[in-house]
């Protein structure tokens, strides 16, 4: 069934269908609508979920930890400062291997204060022990929220669904919603795991470890991320199987990346999130003019799909990597450095450049993407470029 929903509403709808045991959240722009909408479901008796209106994001994630440790399905939604305030707790949840699900409306970090979109918040959490999957649209945000628990519970890692603040959170569009029965059947029941409510087998969880054991625990997390590579796409394939929609375009969940006109492309842009749309429009227009250009959208960011990106880049000569955070004192943005190191390891001779865009929601339209393609078509171009920046 199609409904006109914003990204936030689509996520709340998926949460209603999942009916997690616990939702603990603190409101923050631009994700506030999620806890608002969900608390309506609770108030109207549409879900049996316990909604915990916590006093901070730090406590939101802490309550999720308590709930998940008891064997409950726990979810939260946040953005920006909220995610940053959660940081310590995010790392803790990852280390305890608790399958919590978080929806983050990607937003800039203060100072100066900006309530608008960019990826500064989520990029800071890239090593926090969370699977990070970027939704490009309200539809994808809905789909991925439904896929999150089956992934999280299979590999015992928390999952963060990242979607762009305002551009996705507030964009109202047609979203194909599964029937409640189909959605619930897909999400299923959580597998049994040792938990704190099992009085027969009292669990000591989160204890102290000496240098003799800590490293092995971290190695376990590392392995879980490696196994998640396969699990994310397996769950994606299963999701497509129960879905009446056609996924035969480039946006199939069977791959951690979405490719657009990359097969014979000489110049490719690589991007995360909603900006892929503008990049694809630009590429389509340039294709009409005979230019061999394409776009890769990275959907699963952690674990990072190095192999898939390398394969999709094929024999392209130049790659423009778009980062929606400002590399401060670094040789480039996070995505840029990830992909450069992949190219280096593969001994690829591809030329790369970094394009910093959309910071604090600076406009990024097809014409900006067209300019990037034009920059890359030149013989020489700077390593780091700022898109649509004054002066």
């Amino acid at each position: 069934m199609q409904k006109i929903l914003t990204g936030n509403e689509a996520i709340a709808e998926a949460m209603r269908q999942i009916e997690p045991d616990v939702v603990a959240a603190y409101p923050i722009t631009p994700s506030t609508k999620i806890p608002e909408k969900f608390s309506e479901f609770v108030a109207n008796g549409e879900v049996r979920t316990e909604f915990v209106a916590v006093e901070s994001e730090h406590s939101a994630m802490s309550a999720c930890i308590g709930a998940a440790a008891a064997g409950a399905r726990a979810m939260t939604a946040t953005a920006s400062q909220g995610l940053a305030l959660m940081h310590e707790v995010l790392v803790n949840a990852g280390g305890m291997r608790l399958p919590i699900v978080l929806a983050n409306a990607n937003r800039a970090l203060s100072a100066p204060l900006s309530i608008h979109g960019d990826h500064s918040d989520v990029m800071l959490e890239r090593d926090s022990g969370w699977i990070q999957i970027f939704a490009g649209s309200p539809q994808e945000a809905y789909d991925l929220i439904l896929q999150a628990f089956p992934i999280a519970e299979k590999v015992r890692l928390p999952v963060m669904i990242c979607f762009d603040g305002f551009e996705t959170s507030h964009l109202a569009t047609n979203v194909e919603i599964l029937s409640d029965a189909t959605a619930r059947k897909f999400v299923g029941q959580p597998p049994k795991f040792p938990n704190l409510f099992d009085l027969e087998k009292p669990l000591t969880l989160g204890g102290y470890t000496s240098p003799e054991y800590f490293f092995e625990a971290k190695r376990g997390q590392f392995e879980a991320f490696e196994s998640a590579r396969k699990v994310v796409t397996e769950v994606g394939a299963k999701f497509e199987g129960i879905n009446p929609r056609d996924f035969s375009g480039g946006a199939s969940y069977i791959s951690p990346i979405e490719t657009f006109e990359t097969k014979d492309a000489e110049i490719i842009l690589i991007v995360l999130g909603s900006a892929a749309g503008a990049a694809q429009v630009a590429a389509r227009n340039l294709r009409k003019a005979g230019k061999k250009v394409g776009v890769i959208r990275v959907r699963t960011f952690r674990p990072f799909p190095t192999e898939e990106i390398l394969a999709a880049c094929g024999k392209s000569k130049k790659i423009g990597i778009l980062d929606r955070m400002v590399p401060l004192g670094s040789s480039g943005g996070v995505l840029f450095n990830e992909i450069n190191s992949a190219f280096f390891a593969a001994k690829a001779k591809t030329e790369t450049a970094n394009f910093i865009y959309g910071i604090g929601q600076r406009q990024f339209n097809p014409e900006h993407a067209t300019e990037i393609f034009a920059t890359l078509a030149q013989a020489k171009f700077p390593k780091i470029n700022f898109v649509n920046l004054r002066g």
């Binding site: 979920t49 901070s56 406590s59 308590g66 409510f197 000591t204």
Partner: protein, 309 residues
């Protein structure tokens, strides 16, 4: 509450832990958890108790136990409580788990200071749990830095007794008053040396539906620089000098559970603890007198509140 009954219950914190000799924590935890037959799940803040009882691959806990972080203990408890409510609604609880009680333990750092916001939030939300503050008046796990529970004049590693400043310059925070201001069903203060008092209060706190709070005085011979065997005597001196009153607040009604026949001077509490040694020197009489005034004023306030009934 019968001492024999409590003592004959199977211990929920067993031996082999690494707490210092003479530490109050083990004694308090054992007494609190043996006050009831109710099944318990423990949430533990970062600190001595957590580190000394949970070092992987061993554990001293025979009940389910979780440690997450330093400041989020009450919020983790809220999550457990929320899961319990949701499971009850979905008919997912079986056997004893239906009657599970949540008990949180945190030091004064995890209560008065870094954990205060999460505690306040959980109390306001009506989380059904008991939060036990193990108050040893400083950050002991890291070598006694001052906390907002450290008494006026105490020499700590971040408020040392120097030539100009004679220990901590400010009074303790009134945590019981702060908690009472949340108007929760039950809050009380006790010590591990007052067994019947502590057992009765712990039982009441755990069995009372909704949030309950216990502030328990916890001797730390290592950092108070007091004789290992003197912990219980110091607890008694703390009560006899009115430095630590045995009080309880039930549905916002204050009650003084014990009043010394004759209030002993504060020196009775200070001596035996080298953290206060400098206060007994004549040149520091002023700060010691201020501490005496603080103790007396607080006690008068408690008496007034208790008289209101």
């Amino acid at each position: 509450m019968n001492l024999k009954t409590a003592a004959s219950r199977e211990s929920r914190l067993v031996g082999g832990h690494r707490l210092c000799p003479g530490c109050g924590l083990g004694s308090i935890v054992k007494q609190v958890l043996s006050s009831t037959d109710a099944p318990i799940v423990v949430v533990n803040a970062t600190g001595c108790l957590e580190i000394c009882t949970s070092a992987f691959p061993q554990t001293s806990w025979t009940v389910p136990w979780i440690h997450s972080l330093f400041e989020n203990t009450a919020a983790v408890a809220s999550g457990l409580n929320a899961a319990h409510k949701a499971f009850a609604r979905k008919n997912k609880l079986t056997g004893k788990a239906k009657h599970l009680k949540i008990v949180a333990f945190a030091g004064d750092g995890g209560t008065y200071d870094i954990g205060l916001q999460a505690l306040s939030g959980a109390l306001e939300r009506g989380t059904d749990f008991t939060f036990v503050c193990l108050d040893n008046e400083g950050y002991m796990n890291t070598g006694y830095q001052r906390s907002s529970a450290s008494p006026l004049g105490a020499a700590t590693s971040t408020s040392p007794a120097g030539n100009v400043l004679a220990g901590k310059q400010t009074n303790r925070k009134d945590i019981l008053g702060i908690v009472a201001a949340h108007r929760i069903p039950y809050a009380a203060q006790s010590t591990p040396a007052h067994h019947l008092d502590l057992l009765a209060k712990a039982k009441k706190a755990i069995e009372t539906p909704g949030p309950a709070f216990l502030n328990v005085f916890s001797p730390c011979p290592t950092n108070w620089k007091s004789p290992t065997a003197a912990g219980m005597e110091i607890c008694k001196a703390a009560v006899e000098t009115n430095f630590w009153s045995l009080v309880e607040i039930e549905n916002s009604k204050w009650k003084l559970n014990y009043q010394p026949k004759e209030r002993k001077p504060i020196e009775e509490f200070l001596r035996n603890q080298k953290r206060f040694k400098h206060l007994l020197a004549p040149e520091n009489a002023e700060i010691k007198n201020r501490l005496q005034t603080e103790v007396d004023e607080r006690f008068t306030e408690v008496c007034k509140l208790a008289a209101l009934g």
